[in-house]
Assembly symmetry: C2
Homo-oligomer: 318 residues x 2
DNA sequence: AATTACCCTTGACTGAGTCAACGGTACGCC
DNA sequence: GGCGTACCGTTGACTCAGTCAAGGGTAATT
């Protein structure tokens, strides 16, 4: 197995060991579930959060043995925690409902579990807690995406907030350094562009967008005034590699074009380099045409710069 | 319980449910440990990675019942997997050693476990894997810090790589916006500073440092030439709030001063604002003195700017 | 009408983990 | 040197958790 590929595997295994230990410590130290067991508590949790599931659903959800679950539900029924009734849709299936008492019990277990986690959390410095929650959400998102069919939320655009311009600099520099070997000159160029934008831009004619997906910044684009009159310039289009394929680049370019057309620009231009193939495809889809091309050496590499142009107002408007 | 405090608790509980399910799915689907059990596998793992532990250590490490472990070791011994001998230091204790066959077995289980994780990972887009590993490491670090006495690694300084200058912009802007309400002008200022640095700096006389802790950027500082001859200017000192209290600020300022003195500057100056109390304390500790102070309005707030100065060469040098 | 597949139940079983009692040794303290 | 306490490992008896296979019943398919 190649070393590079083994790295995440080792990390995951270390994490699994760590977390089984942690959960063990969390559960055993106090009697979290008395008089019920962990599995019963999980069943109660599911029932309490989903209103009368079928037994088959529970089995699938918690990957339990059918016989085990059957007996388990029998016990809960005898305790007056759940009620079992044949499903109306399919008499083979069994609809499980929590009784009032069952809901109380579930709430109690819930409470205890929250307390246990709370006391664990009390040892975590408050400043670290948001990072912890964020990291856990990331793990969950990535792995649950791997399990089922990736039911992710939709990306959306917003205007930049504090730090977002810096983020644009960081990601541009880091990505192009990693992918094409750009040196620090490129980071300087991007920093200068965002500095100019931050210090002096006309919000009616110039704008920046950040694309966000699942609470994470995954792309950006900037629209500024060009020297030529009536002309807007699109700059700094970027989509994070792991977020590509969601149409985020198109969304960003569309926002840019719509904005420019809306505020009266007649032309839109942009400068890019021939090695950026993914970006070129996006520009072409939106009607940009290549108007000039010339080789240059910048950012420590030999490149071929390209000027693209798009007519915003003209014969094709009604 | 206040809502804000409950948020991370809910996140952690959701994560726990998710991860117990995941581990369950991982273990049951294939026969990972045959002919041993999960607990036995954990014991084997510990032994294989630590060379002859005492039984008591195993118990503590894996939080196992003494009786359970005793019987478990008995079984492993009978299978020729481990050997038990009284510890040389304390005859009450028992030193457990893997036999050659035990090491084989451990390696086999290791292999299988890696395979299982690998196949789980194969459903994760390659682009997401580093993020996953990173997030897991974060979770582990924060929570293990919470369990024992925070045995964190030492912070260290390094020169910036691609994206680090952008990171400086981002963190400066985000932190000062959150803590003091600075507006986008400040982000512009910082962006211009790093742009100037990136585009044109003399590496012998000007330098930037990034502080790293546990693989994460937690601070920065920049040393550049000032207009006045023989004078260096310290800029953009920053330490992440959750990493404060480790002496990182001092480390950064020391690096800056040592560098400036080493390359022959005679003075070091810096400009800051009176509201930045933590930074002031650091400057004072390193011998800076306040030489000027005047109110101004910048970044959308009313501030009192301060000029500080430090003699690098003079009567106090031998 | 027959086949197949799924749903639940039941009995019999193995494995995982707990609890309490016990003998042995180390260590601190008179 | 002797005593109490505390920890180490062992053992027996037990409960709880989970598995497997057989079986009766209904739904969907043909």
């Amino acid at each position: 197995m190649p070393h590079a590929a083994a790295r995440p595997v080792q990390e995951i295994r270390a994490f699994n060991r760590f977390y089984t230990n942690l959960i063990g410590a969390l559960d055993y130290s106090r009697r979290l579930y008395v008089p019920y067991t962990l599995t019963e508590a999980r069943v109660l949790y599911e029932l309490n959060h989903a209103r009368h599931l079928d037994a088959a659903d529970l089995r699938a959800e918690l990957t339990l043995d059918a016989g085990y679950l059957s007996r388990l539900l029998g016990k809960l029924e005898k305790d007056g925690i759940v009620e079992r009734a044949p499903s109306t849709r399919d008499p083979r299936r069994q609809r499980i409902t929590l009784t009032a008492r069952g809901r109380e019990t579930a709430a109690l277990l819930d409470e205890r579990s929250s307390e246990a986690v709370g006391s664990l959390l009390s040892d975590v410095p408050a400043a670290q807690r948001p990072r912890l929650a964020e990291a856990m959400r990331t793990v969950r998102e990535i792995l649950s995406g791997a399990e089922d069919g990736a039911a992710r939320s939709r990306p959306f655009l917003r205007e930049p907030g504090p730090g977002d311009l810096g983020w644009i600099v960081e990601r541009n520099a880091a990505l192009y350094a990693a992918e094409y070997g750009f040196n620090i000159d490129y980071e300087g160029l991007v920093a200068r562009i965002v500095a100019d934008f931050a210090e002096d831009h006309d919000p009616h004619l110039e704008r920046t967008w950040i694309a966000e997906l699942d609470g994470r910044r995954v792309g950006c684009v900037m629209c500024v005034r060009d020297d030529a009159p009536g002309t807007a310039r699109l700059r700094l289009l970027l989509v994070e590699p792991d977020a590509r394929g969601h149409g985020i680049g198109d969304q960003l370019v569309s926002a840019c074009i719509d904005f420019a057309r809306g505020v009266g620009y007649r032309e839109m231009v942009l400068w890019t380099n021939d090695i950026l193939g993914a970006a070129r495809a996006i520009y072409q889809r939106h009607g940009f045409v290549l108007v000039d091309e010339k080789p240059h050496r910048s950012f420590g590499v030999d490149l071929v710069g390209q000027d693209w142009q798009l007519h915003l107002a003209g014969e094709d408007t009604p």
